[in-house]
């Protein structure tokens, strides 16, 4: 395989950014372990609670921070994950490009909405 000295220095694989993708996926996976444990505990604590009680919990700074980190970490994790799925099964140029774009839009749109909601619960009325 032909590797340029610059490519080797930057750690670029044959997929142009493979190493960076892999490392980001590792980091989001590791961060996700304690955050997921927190998330499961949070959801269980909100079962059967009214809106007033739920919003009080979700607006609590410690909860809001951890939940925001959970959302942000997993948005990146899911975006990277589905990117691989698309690349594995879609090979024609246009469908692949469109699906990769939709993946990014969906992931960040969803993430932004969730983070906005958490912010509103913390600062808004």
């Amino acid at each position: 395989m032909v590797r340029t000295p610059l490519g080797r220095v930057r750690g670029l694989g044959s997929a142009r950014s493979g190493t960076e993708h892999f490392w980001k996926q590792i980091i989001t996976s590791v961060a996700s372990i304690p955050l997921t444990i927190f998330f499961i505990g949070l959801v269980l604590s909100l079962v059967g609670k009214s809106w007033v009680e739920a919003t009080a919990t979700l607006g609590d700074p410690a909860v809001a921070i951890l939940l925001s980190l959970f959302v942000a970490t997993n948005i990146e994790h899911m975006r990277l994950g589905l990117q691989v799925v698309v690349e594995d099964y879609v090979h024609a140029d246009l469908p692949k490009a469109v699906l990769l774009m939709l993946n990014t839009f969906f992931s960040y749109g969803l993430g932004f909405s969730a983070l906005f909601a958490i912010a509103k619960l913390s600062f808004g009325s």
Binding site: S29, S32, V47, K49, W51, T55, L82, S113, A114, L121
Partner: protein
């Protein structure tokens, strides 16, 4: 690979048709399926939070939908998907450190992650269901 065109279909090596379905292979496929399920399940997470940030009515509507038969099924499926995918992910992280790749350790890791994800799902759902009945 950006210049790939679907012109003459070239033959691929057979894979699913020839390999015996082993546990590690099935779990790898399950890891991907649970991942995709969670990808779309994340939408429900966002809807839940946005509903909470919107109004009491919106939140109550969400809870009502979640307590419907379809809601129960989806919730249970997503719980299992989350636990299976997370525990499977830990298994992959262990393998990424080049540990536990030999036989029989890799089978034990795979089997262990499957059993623990099922057990944890049942446990968490037991707790959740009890809380639901009490609340």
């Amino acid at each position: 690979m950006a210049e790939t065109k679907i012109g003459r279909e070239r033959p691929l090596s057979p894979h699913l048709q020839v390999y015996r379905l082993t546990l590690t292979m099935a779990m790898s496929i399950a890891h991907r399926i649970t991942g995709v399920a969670l990808y779309f399940g994340a939408l429900l997470l966002a809807v839940w939070l946005v509903a909470a940030a919107t109004s009491a009515d919106a939140y109550d509507t969400f809870l009502w939908l979640a307590a419907s038969p379809v809601g129960w099924i989806v919730s249970f499926g997503l719980t299992f998907s989350l636990l299976h995918h997370a525990i499977g992910g830990i298994r992959h992280l262990i393998w990424d450190m080049s540990l536990g790749l030999d036989h029989p350790m890799r089978e034990w890791l795979t089997f262990g992650s499957l059993i623990s994800s099922v057990v944890l799902t049942v446990l968490i759902w037991g707790v959740g269901f009890a809380l639901f009945l009490r609340g």
